[in-house]
Subunit: 694 residues, 2 copies
Amino acid sequence: MIRRYTYGTPLPTDAVVKQLNTEPGAPDCLTVSKSTDGTVLSFPLPEEAMLFGLGEQLHGINKRGHLYRSWNSDDPQHTESKSSLYASHNLLLYAGPERSFGLFVDDPGEVIWDLGYTRMDAAVITVAGGGFDLYVITPEENEDRQLTAMCREFRGLIGRSYVPPRWAMGYLQSRWGYASEEDLVTVARGHRDKHIPLDGICMDIDYMERFKDFTWNREAFPDLPGLCECLKAQHIRVIPIIDAGVKAEEGYDVFDEGEEKGFFCKREDGKDFVTAVWPGESRLPDFFRPEVRAWFGEKYHRLLDAGAEGFWNDMNEPALFYTPEGLRRAYETADALRGALTEYDSSFKLSGAFNALANNPEDYRSFYHTVGDRTVRHDRVHNLYGALMTKAAAEGFAAYRAEKRYLLFSRSSYIGAHRCGGIWMGDNCSWWSHILLHLKMLPSLNMAGFLYCGADLGGFTANTTEDLLERWLQLGVFTPLMRNHSAQHTREQEIYRFSIWEMMRGTLSVRYALIPYLYSELMLSALTDGLYFRPLAFDFPEDRTACHVEDQLMLGTQCMIAPVYEQNAVGRHVYLPCDMLMVRFRTAEDYDMEPMAQGHHWIELKLNEFLLFIKRGCFIPLARPAEYTEAVTTERLRLLGWLNPGEKSTLRFYEDDGVTTQVSLREGVRDIAVDTGGAVQCDGSVCDTAGLVR
Amino acid sequence: MIRRYTYGTPLPTDAVVKQLNTEPGAPDCLTVSKSTDGTVLSFPLPEEAMLFGLGEQLHGINKRGHLYRSWNSDDPQHTESKSSLYASHNLLLYAGPERSFGLFVDDPGEVIWDLGYTRMDAAVITVAGGGFDLYVITPEENEDRQLTAMCREFRGLIGRSYVPPRWAMGYLQSRWGYASEEDLVTVARGHRDKHIPLDGICMDIDYMERFKDFTWNREAFPDLPGLCECLKAQHIRVIPIIDAGVKAEEGYDVFDEGEEKGFFCKREDGKDFVTAVWPGESRLPDFFRPEVRAWFGEKYHRLLDAGAEGFWNDMNEPALFYTPEGLRRAYETADALRGALTEYDSSFKLSGAFNALANNPEDYRSFYHTVGDRTVRHDRVHNLYGALMTKAAAEGFAAYRAEKRYLLFSRSSYIGAHRCGGIWMGDNCSWWSHILLHLKMLPSLNMAGFLYCGADLGGFTANTTEDLLERWLQLGVFTPLMRNHSAQHTREQEIYRFSIWEMMRGTLSVRYALIPYLYSELMLSALTDGLYFRPLAFDFPEDRTACHVEDQLMLGTQCMIAPVYEQNAVGRHVYLPCDMLMVRFRTAEDYDMEPMAQGHHWIELKLNEFLLFIKRGCFIPLARPAEYTEAVTTERLRLLGWLNPGEKSTLRFYEDDGVTTQVSLREGVRDIAVDTGGAVQCDGSVCDTAGLVR
């Protein structure tokens, strides 16, 4: 059951697809009050209570114990000090000893979530804006998986998740630094020569002509359509980046048109809001206006025409490097302090003045959007900007070829954008702790509707190491978006550059062998409002140990993952919430299996080994691996599972052409049944059977 | 066996106390070559090889897999990207499948340690300077604990570790922000009123008169001697901070004298090197000169006269906020970019120019020291500066009262300073990951001779949470330096401010009950060149699982610790390398015990519970807790242990007056023997016996 409560006059956010009537009165699970900071929602946190959700955020799967801020931010240092990342997903689930409920705070401005931070026993949520909808989700009393059920109901409210093309389940290689046709050809050859799987190459800002959206450097890419075709012939797609900011340069048609049509964000005085990002001085399209989205979305056609089949939208928090006003403020500080650094902290004031240039709160308060017939200051709707850019792109694709799926993933997002594209987790670091942070965000993103997602494998900033990349790939094997991405000036991290590339190739072979299964689970999650990744707490709510596991995830209906995320580890502790078959993978062809009883286990793992657990009584299909997704078929699947003697086991399996936007659960799904008494070889404990006839 | 090899002409570092002859030829465990970056020491890393050491550094107990830099740095963001902290401890131990050896690179300049970072299978150490001593340690072949034995031999080379007064084992409270007599009285009262143990209060820079060393603000502290006396009567010591930089202010006698005597570091042109730290424009004493150390060390007497009994030396990397030359460079960049931010990254150049003000490499190359009869550019001996400041203080104390121990701990250090004082681990953050980082550094610091050490409990920068502080205190219970410290503008983190202060007090009660044991183990480690904390690999080299444990430590001869370092955890996995008695503490009076077999265990732990393991056949004493160390006696010790029936168990126990510098192993040590067939009650499995007669 979802009830809607309205406070003040909410702005439209496009987050929900079902219009619920506003309830009279107040929800019974929390207290609503007013403070000088905004509307305050609070409720007690008994000792046993857990909190889940918040989508792309830091800290644990259980969000209890920290302070979070919904405020989309471009900040490439994801340390434990931070309270925001690039997205705001205002869904919070409370699982208490006596009851459970969910909250969706549908407000695109700042929201502060003090979740047992100031006081361990209280949650205090402060919504800064003047009006918002609060959706309160309560589960059926007789439901035994209340958290999952609440998510399903919430997902029904917010609409079906984005469905990527099947090839987007392939391995993607990216780097800030691929600046020419030759760079892309080198990457393609690097993979194909060594038979390392690859389905796509992401082009970062370097491909553009001086960072101008929808252009490419004609010297470095003399024939982009030819290049795309050539790579496509090798089953490698090209995936360009598009930034939110439009370079201010006369003669650049996107700028000229936007200026002429008045499509850019305005200051209070009606003039264009001037900022700077990668291209230098830039303008921000006012994506809140449908006509601006249509105009911007149509520009993607240029690169679609050139052969691109996917895009990533970046810098759409929106990131601001500086504004003229901010620069003036910084220089004023510098001029005032020139020759006058007397106080003990004056040099920090000086550096602080320039460090405050980027993403300055004052700048976010100095421009406006047209939202319906209202003019709204940016900070009031800040967290929606990236979502609406994503919507512009999705609408552009639909206008181009409505029947074809395109890959799209964005850095910034808000709930609602999950219907238009996936996301990546932004500019992480080559830190071991970020493998675990990556894992922890996955189920939270699924709850918020974002199924196609993943983090930069190997880490974006800082220098990776061989073992870090290998361990991260071992998690990436299971994430729908599986992309290796790294920043300029960091160590190059394409697999083929490393001494252990054969090990990494073996890891990728498991991904490709799992694609039929993973794609099926992804599609089933999308089409049934399910969760591809879940905390163990969702499936085993009565198991207190399982509820607090923070480094394992349930995957699909059948599986659990438990990656290694510590350097030099020779194994790891795993908690099995039920009997499971352990599969210790080295490659798709080389693995061992062991039935394991519910409980705690220490499992030895070499660097090239990683784990997949399959619940007892279940099985999953394994295809023959390949170097690109199109070569992965469901022709002859091998089944892995631990089946109970005499019991029939069934896998709900989804398959489609992976291309058309018209998807149908009814048409795509079928049951694969294994009867341990039947023709399929099974010894009653471990089933590893080739030759299942479809 | 330790052999010394000399390359070029080393500078004196004061690190070793035994003068070994230089060996002819080259060591057989590594290859020495020259590169443009300096002298290169390299050796292969077989798959099974582990590396230990490097003292205060980031990453694992096993140092393999990262790049480290010996370059003392004041950087308060200890992320995984960093390669240096505040100290350089150039001891590295190699534990390979076929042999083990140790290296001590005695060079006070930059050393780069590429330990399986660029290539997983190679260690490459680059010593930038023009000459250094390399000490190669090899164990006896028949030694079964080769790593421990090599450390013992190395410690013999570098001399006996600093011995703190016994009261320094008490709980210390600190904060950047205690600015007046009232602040200190409030802290003392906050603890005493609630009966929370406390032995000392650290005063950060706020107590000084405008950050001038050896002064105090006479308005805020009208009677510092009276305050010290009053607090001392409550068994609370006052521990002021001293910074390396001396404020440049005419009329300030320390500055005037230093100027007059020419005691400050000079530029190439012979003029004083001008920099700025907390007091604004400052000078750096040239601690390389004995007469400067004597002069500076004597200044501590002012605060000793006022009643201080301990000090912490800070900012002695040395930290530089800026120099006039650096400011000029930054302003030049800013002026050149004024109104001319055209390139995509020009705003980053602008902020970068000011961010480069602090600790700028160019500044470190622009001043000189007098080392013996040579003039040496600072960067050549950079890593020694803090160690020599510590030496100055220690020499000052000896001159004041040679027979009395004073507490001293420093931020920056180099091997050799371990004879003069302890260290804290610098400006950490209120991050859960920093509990584990704290744990990992402890044994490495012990190897390098630093026994009295610890990190800021609760975290220095960023805001703590109640549970973070509680969990961190649970580790701090076992660290010789047990200090709660936090930064200006962060959440106040004195125990008495939190809702769970009683829980925290209970945790502290365990510390105080353990003081006789912990002090004994600390002193035995100091007097026998032993390791108070050890990686499990040191005690169980044949146990591959034990060798790779990164979140547990052996403590003393009898114990192992395994703290919780994850938020919301309801337990943890522990590996027992041998049979052990688990003690699950809540308070010193409230704990439960369980004998546990060698192997893997999952142990449930509430927030107020933490673990100490005692090896089977051993026991430890527990005293009655108190509110300050002097009230903790060894009069009636309770013994905890799991004794084998019919076997006699002996504890080597050290005790002294905790005050005098003349310490003697022979006089202080005695055996406490428990005969399970004797008068002491023991049920043959768990021994928890009150009333042992001394």
